[in-house]
Homo-oligomer: 73 residues x 6
Amino acid sequence: MSWLPSLITATPEEGYDLAIKLSRMAVKKAQPDDEARGRMRPDYANNADSLTVASGVVATNFQTVAAANNYWR
Amino acid sequence: MSWLPSLITATPEEGYDLAIKLSRMAVKKAQPDDEARGRMRPDYANNADSLTVASGVVATNFQTVAAANNYWR
Amino acid sequence: MSWLPSLITATPEEGYDLAIKLSRMAVKKAQPDDEARGRMRPDYANNADSLTVASGVVATNFQTVAAANNYWR
Amino acid sequence: MSWLPSLITATPEEGYDLAIKLSRMAVKKAQPDDEARGRMRPDYANNADSLTVASGVVATNFQTVAAANNYWR
Amino acid sequence: MSWLPSLITATPEEGYDLAIKLSRMAVKKAQPDDEARGRMRPDYANNADSLTVASGVVATNFQTVAAANNYWR
Amino acid sequence: MSWLPSLITATPEEGYDLAIKLSRMAVKKAQPDDEARGRMRPDYANNADSLTVASGVVATNFQTVAAANNYWR
């Protein structure tokens, strides 16, 4: 089964989680080695700027998911 | 209850506050440890570039919230 | 009174000023101490890269304000 | 007279020039001292990364101007 | 044959892969030497911030592809 | 003749090339000296992060060109 069968979600919160998934997938595709990603995690998760930039990627993906869902209006 | 029941807000100001909430949630999901986030705060809050980049994330999320609310026209 | 009663402005120039206000407000909400923000200002205002990144935040907010005003067409 | 009377331009090229003007105005408003901006210029104009980030700001503003002009279709 | 015959894809997942392709192509056009790109890869693929910024580029391209496909609704 | 007579292109690939042209033009306008730009090129073209950020600028401009062309649907 596809990891991304649809951009449609039942709720805004599920849409936000999908935006996080989309953001992580690009990292996973560029660095498929789970261990290599794990080694980077402590530095990343304890650096405010790293977390802020990552939040910006989620924000961009959330724009896409929210538009796809017509903003769950 | 969901932390994000809807993107609809009564006013632009509430929409802006929701954009801030969306920006912080991605950080919280990547670093769930409250103490770890607290440790980063002083450096972050006293660094102009960190604050500017964070403002850019809020701006991206505010685009989404404003569009969802048809710009409160 | 709200600091953001509306996204509608009479002119593009007022819309641009509102975009600057939106950009600064996120900084103010993350660092509410006026003195702390004042201490960062000289370094920030004399660093071309800091100013460029800040201009990018204004550009993102101006997209929102311009769309809200149907581009003042 | 306003520095930004309208987002409408006769041609795409004039629209691009307006996007550059919008990008520079945010810098000018944050650092109004002409001499201070002049001092930063040589470093900025000889740093590829600075120029790339600045090009990104122009790209964001050009999105706004192009949409305002219905892409000069 | 063109490397980009269309922005239309059968599924969201194929659209995401196209967004990755679009993101890589700009790098390839700026640095056409395969060996030079290969030399940069280990550092890049083991740096969390590099991967995050690259994920942001994919997110921007995915916005374009998703809009082109009317979000596969 | 204008360097940007139109945002309309016959194909997505030509649209992508136009996005690259738009991205480079902002650099050229900020640093018109061909030699100065040439001096920066080797460092830039061998730095993965520089190339990634530049790819992000192309992505933003490609959004504009793709929208102008109604995504070549």
